[in-house]
């Protein structure tokens, strides 16, 4: 064979090889299967959380992705004597003070910083909650803002 023929053959080989490995469009059936797989994996709820904070356009103040996930809200456990309260310092105080008039379910739905929790305690005392002494109050606020803070705790 002449030199030109070899080049032509090499080129043809390259084309055939490239075609073999070139990404092929998925078939219609494959795509349909992928949509079904996507539906199977779906979390079950549209994220309604705002994803853009106009006050922090660069995103530094965006809430963590887990903020208000259904899992965080549903941590209420009626079969647990402490209703599923996270077991860290102060949970017995919270159970004692907050569940006199209402269940802990409403407590565990809230996400507030310490200042707002402090204001809520003041309101609750006006509604008949026994006033906790200073040390207990500090402990309550610390627990609530640590476990049910404006930003959720790290998982």
């Amino acid at each position: 064979m002449k030199r030109g023929d070899w080049i032509a053959l090499a080129c043809a080989g390259l084309v055939v090889g490239a075609l073999a490995f070139w990404p092929q469009d998925a078939t219609r059936e494959e795509r349909a299967e992928r949509v079904v797989a996507m539906a199977d994996k779906w979390a079950g709820e549209i994220a309604f959380e705002p994803s853009y904070d106009a006050l922090a356009p660069s995103g530094e103040a965006l809430p963590a992705a887990s903020a208000f996930s259904p899992a965080a809200v549903s941590s209420f456990d009626p079969s647990d004597p402490y209703s599923g309260l996270p077991r860290n310092d102060g949970y017995e105080l919270v159970a004692g003070y907050c569940s006199g008039c209402h269940s802990l379910q409403i407590v565990m739905q809230q996400r507030h910083d310490a200042r707002t929790w402090d204001g809520l305690l003041t309101f609750m005392v006006s509604q008949g909650m026994p006033a906790p002494e200073a040390a207990e109050r500090a402990n309550l606020i610390s627990y609530l803002s640590r476990n049910f803070g404006a930003q959720p705790p790290a998982p």
Binding site: R31, V35, I46, S74, H102, S103, Q105, G128
Partner: protein, 384 residues
């Protein structure tokens, strides 16, 4: 509509719905509703369970502020007192209300002012309602107007103050669970009812049996349950939680601490809609049209139209809007959409009122107590 192929296709998929918790062990709790609280009982209705024209009693949301009262078996002797700025204070039994006044049946929406609170950032304290703190039933009773006119409203009357039989959560008899009111003009509207029946039957105790107010278009808290007294006031009512159901008088940045002097009582509620079919998470077969339906309602300003989008709000399709059964009833909307290919779609619905105000795509003006979030409802659909 119920026999359409799309519906049959949907039934296979079903909807995965988030449950905040269950309260089914609680007496009076309604099966299938999501519990926001079990003591006091607070339950919201998943949107796909609100598909009927009139919400069945078993699916009507529950919002309690105090302890549920003991209701006597014989309720005809239930008493309602009308006093304050009236010529002739009245002490009426339920039997007298039924016998001595013209009764009316109206389809009326009740919506909790905090419906949608969960989506405000920073979070607002209170029950974290998503979309289901709303219902629309056929209520039978007498017009509050007729009862007030029988008592003779004095010129000095400014506001009503409503009282019910529910005790304060603390059990303290000196405290009131909730006592809200409305300006006399709203109380005298033809659609403000003292109701004893819901959808032609006694209403559930959790919804106020044997007697409640219905103040349509305004926060649900105005519609006092277990009604025992209406105190006609010569000033704005100052009962329990009158200070709470308020919004800033001017728009505030998220998280702002607003002085009480700058907070104003919520009156008419904003325009809103809910997609009740298909249920979120539904799978529909590719090819052909997908029927979408739901309800739209508003406060004192009527709904003008509803639009539906399946491309994240890029384009909108005008839905058909059925006439309201009466003023303050929600209106059925229907649309037919054609997903162009297989994949994940969100159906968004956007109602607009007669003053041109539409539902926003994200939560409107942040406010400290998280009221009046009328953002667009969305459902997810997989076209397979």
């Amino acid at each position: 509509m119920s026999g359409s192929p799309t519906r049959r296709a949907l039934l296979a998929g079903g909807a995965a719905l988030p449950l905040v918790g269950t309260a089914e062990a609680q007496e009076g709790a309604k099966a299938g509703l999501a519990a926001l609280g079990d003591r006091p009982l607070v339950q919201e209705t998943p949107p796909h369970l609100l598909d009927e024209e009139a919400t069945p009693a078993a699916r009507f949301f529950v919002r309690n502020n105090g302890q549920v009262p003991e209701i006597p078996a014989a309720v005809e002797g239930w008493r309602l007192r009308i006093d304050g700025e009236v010529e002739r204070p009245l002490d009426l039994t339920l039997a007298q209300l039924k016998r001595d006044f013209e009764s009316a049946t109206l389809r009326l929406v009740i919506e909790c002012a905090g419906n949608g609170r969960r989506f405000f950032r920073p979070a607002a304290s209170g029950n974290q309602w998503t979309f289901g703190g709303v219902g629309c039933a056929d209520w039978t009773g007498v017009r509050l107007r007729d009862v007030l006119q029988r008592a003779g409203v004095k010129r000095s009357a400014v506001y009503t103050g409503h009282y019910g039989a529910d005790a304060h959560l603390s059990g303290d008899p000196q405290k009131t669970a909730i006592s809200r009111g409305v300006p006399i003009a709203k109380a005298l509207e033809a659609h403000t009812l003292i109701a004893w029946a819901m959808n032609g039957a006694d209403m559930p105790v959790m919804n106020g049996h044997p007697l409640r107010l219905i103040v349509p278009g305004w926060p649900g808290s105005c519609s006092q349950k277990w009604l025992t007294r209406i105190w006609v006031r010569d000033r704005e009512h100052d009962g329990e939680k009158m200070a709470q159901y308020r919004m800033p008088a001017y728009p505030v940045a998220p998280g702002t601490e607003v002085p009480e002097s700058d907070m104003e009582i919520i009156e008419s509620m904003p325009v809103k809609s809910l997609i009740t079919f298909p249920p979120t998470g539904a799978r529909v077969r590719f090819g052909g049209a997908l029927d979408v339906r739901g309800h739209a309602w508003s406060g004192d300003v009527e709904v003008a139209h509803v639009d539906v989008s399946i491309d994240f709000g890029a384009t909108w399709t005008r839905a058909s809007l059925a006439p309201a059964a009466n003023r303050y009833a929600w209106r059925r909307f229907r649309a037919s959409v054609r997903p162009p290919e297989q994949g994940y779609y969100e159906i968004w619905a956007r109602a607009t009122d007669a003053q041109g105000r539409a539902q926003p795509a994200s939560p409107p003006g942040w406010n400290p107590h998280g009221y009046c979030n009328n953002q667009q409802h969305r459902v997810a659909v997989f076209v397979t």
